[in-house]
């Protein structure tokens, strides 16, 4: 399935882009993450949370094929 991945802040510095679409087979968030770690080797040194459809998820969450976002530490206010 085709998913859209959004990158923010220092994560976008690593990926050199704000957004991309990736074709990936069904599975868990952890499988998507290992794909991304292979593609962007500096990613594993970064601190971030993952959101799926604007809700934070963990590595065992099932991929639903929608919008994923990699969110570095929050700095609002």
């Amino acid at each position: 399935m085709l998913i859209t991945i959004k990158y923010f802040g220092q994560i976008a510095e690593v990926t050199q882009k704000d957004e991309e679409q990736i074709e990936i087979s069904e599975g868990l968030i952890s499988e998507l993450l290992s794909t991304l770690n292979t593609k962007y080797s500096d990613l594993k040194h970064k601190d971030f949370q993952i959101a799926q459809n604007q809700e934070l998820v963990n590595l065992e969450t099932e991929l639903t094929g929608d919008e994923i976002a990699l969110l570095p530490p929050f700095a609002g206010g």
Partner: protein, 147 residues
Amino acid sequence: MKDKKPKNVFREGPISSDFIGNSIYKHQTKTSIGAHNIFLGQVRADEIDGKVVSAIEYTAYEDMANQKFYEIREAAFEKFELTCMHIYHSLGTVKIGEICLFVFVSSPRRKVVFEALEFIVEAIKADVPVFGKEIFEDNSHQWKKNT
């Protein structure tokens, strides 16, 4: 006073004192209010390894952030007896000394507004996906992290 769907909390650039003053003025017609409380987040000239911050450049995952602001707003109305509440957060560049966050709560009585404001500001810091790039005077940068 509850909104049905998330509205946009973000404003481009710093929040001006005129805007803040005008917000206070607009509440003069709401005469059930007996107490307002206001939080203003200001960009600080932090010194890090001998370099001084000159501005913060804010970005956000805007859709999720507005949804989180909405949830915080709903939770605050649920928890406290508030007449109204407003939140504004900057995007883009905000220089040191300028305001990047404006939270405004109003209630018939004072005790509520102290508690509500702290609840709201702490929730914003913890839960809303806003990112801050601290720009130093020499144009290098580092990423801000809420503690």
